[in-house]
Amino acid sequence: MTAFWILAPVMVLAALGILFVRKAVHAALLLAVVMISLAVLYAALDAPFLFAVQIIVYTGAILMLFLFVLMLVGVDASDSVVETIRGQRVLAVAGGLVLGVLLVLGLSQLTLGTVVGLDEANSGGNIEALANILFSRYVFAFETTSALLITAAVGAMVLAHRERLTPKAGQAERAAQRVRDFSEKGTHLGPLPSPGVYARHNAVDTPALLPDGTPAPDSVSRVLSSRGTVRSAPALADDIEQVRRSIDGVPGGASGEQATATGHNTEQHSLEEEGR
């Protein structure tokens, strides 16, 4: 009983959190809280098998699948706040409140009688008793489940499979393309510069510095720069200026400090972006 009164508020709060958090990853983590608390409640309700299955299947497999898809879908996954149907959100919340109040009032007026308890049914072990029922009375449903699972697996494969419309470019084609680009547009033939060379950090979000101190934009990934999570070039240029000034003996830290701060800000922003 103690477990219930501790876990019930936690579960309700976490479930409400799913409604209000903006980022889908946070919603998934809150759902994990609800599911693990449910598993503990199953254990308290004399269902040790379901306790294990809840943790392994729900928290372990289904929620991880959710997180996988979230990571694949990526930063776009934030919720839009625009209402497509006017008043829909208000109506939904009002309807939900009505449903909740109705259910809770109705259930609290119910008298269920004394609890029989599962001590007798579980006397030979919960898993053995479940297996007895599952493979006798529910054996047809159990067999049908296998068909369902196979259909789901095939369906997922069909949906996730992408037909390749153009032949895949191999190493020879890409090399030829590179030489063609060089002859037509004058693009550099060799590999791109690696990030962080001669800069203060060797992280992938730090552009390499050219001999004249300017950052090389080619050296950071296109994805990072389009997300805006690259340590900004002015910050680095300012760092160089600061070093130069200190060599010259002129104390000028303020602008450099500020630039480093903005650099860190962009980094924090990038973490938030990835969280979505």
């Binding site: 219930f4 729900y58 898809v69 939900g96 809770v104 269920l112 609890v115 579980n122 369906g155």
Partner: protein, 99 residues
Amino acid sequence: MDTTPYVVLSAILFTIGTVGVLTRRNAIVVFMCVELMLNACNLALVAFARQHGNLDGQIAAFFVMVVAAAEVVVGLAIIMTIFRTRRSASVDDASLLKY
């Protein structure tokens, strides 16, 4: 102990899940709310299994879990397919079937 608190908690979770399905716009979060509703039903099933002293409720909860797993696999594959063509996981963007 009494079964009623468990069933009331299950009803509250189910309601929260319903409101989530109706209000959230991100398809994946909508899916999570459906999972929350299924979980709430499972809690009621397990609580009633203990109330009545037989294991049929637990078997039903087990089947709900199996069906939920299959549903999540297919649903997330559909979301991935829609995301691949539309670059968006919002439920509002996939409205072409209306017309």
